[in-house]
Amino acid sequence: MPTAQPEIESSSEARSEDYLWTLNFGPQHPATHTTLRLVLKLEGERVVDAVPEMGYLHSGFEKIAEHLTFNQYVTVTDRMNYISPMANNVAWHHSVETLLGVTLTPRCTYIRTIVAELARISDHLLSNGAVGLDTGAFTYFLYAFYQREVIYDIFETLCGARFTNSYTRVGGVSHDFTPLVIEKIRAFVKTFPKTLNDMQRLLNRNRIFVDRTQGVGILTKEEAINRGATGPVARASGVTRDLRRDDPYLAYSDFDFQISCASAGDCYARYLIRMQEMRESLKIVEQAIEHLPSGPVNVGNDERTTLPTKNQVYSTIEGTISHFELSMSNRGFEVPCEESYAAIEAPNGELGFYIVGDGEDQAYRARCRPPSVLNFAMFPHLIRGHTLSDVVAVLGSLNIIAAELDR
């Protein structure tokens, strides 16, 4: 254990550190939600120091990336931040397409924007719901989870999978939007604000919740930048950085939306930011679904970047040829011997992939820049001086996903 044990001195007077009590929190604890471990040094109820440990869910995703093709690896990205897998899919193929230099069709950028924003909503719902759950607001969690279920249903209609979507492909997506999907998304856009208002009324001025989160785990702006915070955690501390606005990828430059920011930097501010971001995401989804461009969803067959649909494979000679050209191990994509980094604003922060290509259609190296690692690294800084019961509030507000943390 890295926390140094106080040495026993010969004097009869006990030192102040001798009263410290070490508590092992996790890796299997309901409030860690996943497998992460904290070694807490307590003085009574107060946390003097915390040592986070990780790696319990390490599965070598980056090593696997060197052995799977660009299209196969998307199934692994599903399992990184598994509460918003769509966002990971979009991030992965955004990075791959940056390396390959593939330009998407307008319809595809809109579709990816919509699914990424729906993923953001479902991520924030679970994240805020878990904060509510950990601080005693169970009803709130159920409200949140019901709406997540609606989003799952949309994804299931869209691509057949509720959880591990593996939706994107190089140069496109696996399934185009059908009228039923559009109808379901429209229904969601219409009904969700009502639930969001209910949720806001349940918790925003709830005395117990506010007391437990306000002023807890304060992250100043300077520290947020120094510790590499991105996403809602950084924006709750006053860092006005959002890649959707600063570096508009996909179709974000077409939409009217606000970047939510707060200056308090505590758990309550992070909660409020997530609530507000859901409203903004909903605005983006609404605009995108109403202005969804027509036309092909995937980059054309001629370019030989996207796998053709099964219909094309079985009924056209071009489709068959493209399919085999892309599937055969000695053909595939034209990958430059280059390296590039591309990131998206994932629900948790900047999620990017640094990909090294060496001419093969597997990545030579695919580094995932996980926002959870940087968020978890700042945990001891946030918890020092607070009580043991605040651990779950801070942990929940950082929204640490162990599968993305460890990869």
Partner: protein, 175 residues
């Protein structure tokens, strides 16, 4: 690394950061690929160069990672370290690369500059075995403490070297 880029060197020189780096640590190799500005700095001057870049507005440390060029065609060095920098004031980004070699791949830690580098450098140490001098707490991050190899190196097989089968089995009596 002999990497071809889309644009020539004329536009590269125009970048103010590159010009300053050139003045600071001799002519640095810089290139642009997919609109991303990249520079290669000498390893021994990496800390000072990154410190200089931090003062020039790259206040947000995005990532540090490593690439093992063991099987890479035409590679001259074994490991390439990649620092991704960004700014919270504007949308500028910069990729700083440097190379280290066996045995004893060593580079200066940038934790004194950015606290964010702390765990990221630990991860690079864990998975690649790059030693960061000046790091306050260089322990393994994701692999177990008793692990001896660095699994993201290219000479480490995908299936591992049987470590998993030799993990000690903890019985109820011994736990």
């Amino acid at each position: 690394m002999t990497n071809t880029s889309d644009t020539g060197t004329e536009t590269v020189i125009e970048n103010a950061h590159v010009r300053v780096l050139n003045a600071f640590c001799g002519p640095v190799e810089s290139s642009i690929y997919r609109k991303q500005q990249r520079v290669i700095v000498p390893t021994e001057k990496s800390f000072d160069a990154l410190s200089l870049l931090k003062d020039r507005g790259f206040d947000l440390f995005i990532d540090v990672t490593c690439v093992d060029y063991l099987e890479y065609r035409k590679a001259k060095h074994r490991y390439g370290l990649v620092y991704l920098l960004a700014s919270t004031m504007n949308t500028e980004r910069l990729t700083v690369r440097l190379f280290v070699d066996d045995p004893q791949p060593t580079v200066a830690s940038v934790v004194p500059l950015w606290e964010a580098a702390n765990w990221l450098e630990r991860e690079v140490w864990d998975l690649f075995g790059i030693n960061f001098t000046g790091h306050p707490d260089l322990r393994r991050l994701v692999m177990p403490e008793e692990f001896t190899a660095h699994p993201l190196r290219k000479d480490y097989p995908l299936q591992g070297r049987g470590e998993r089968h030799n993990f000690p089995v903890i019985t109820r009596d011994h736990s």
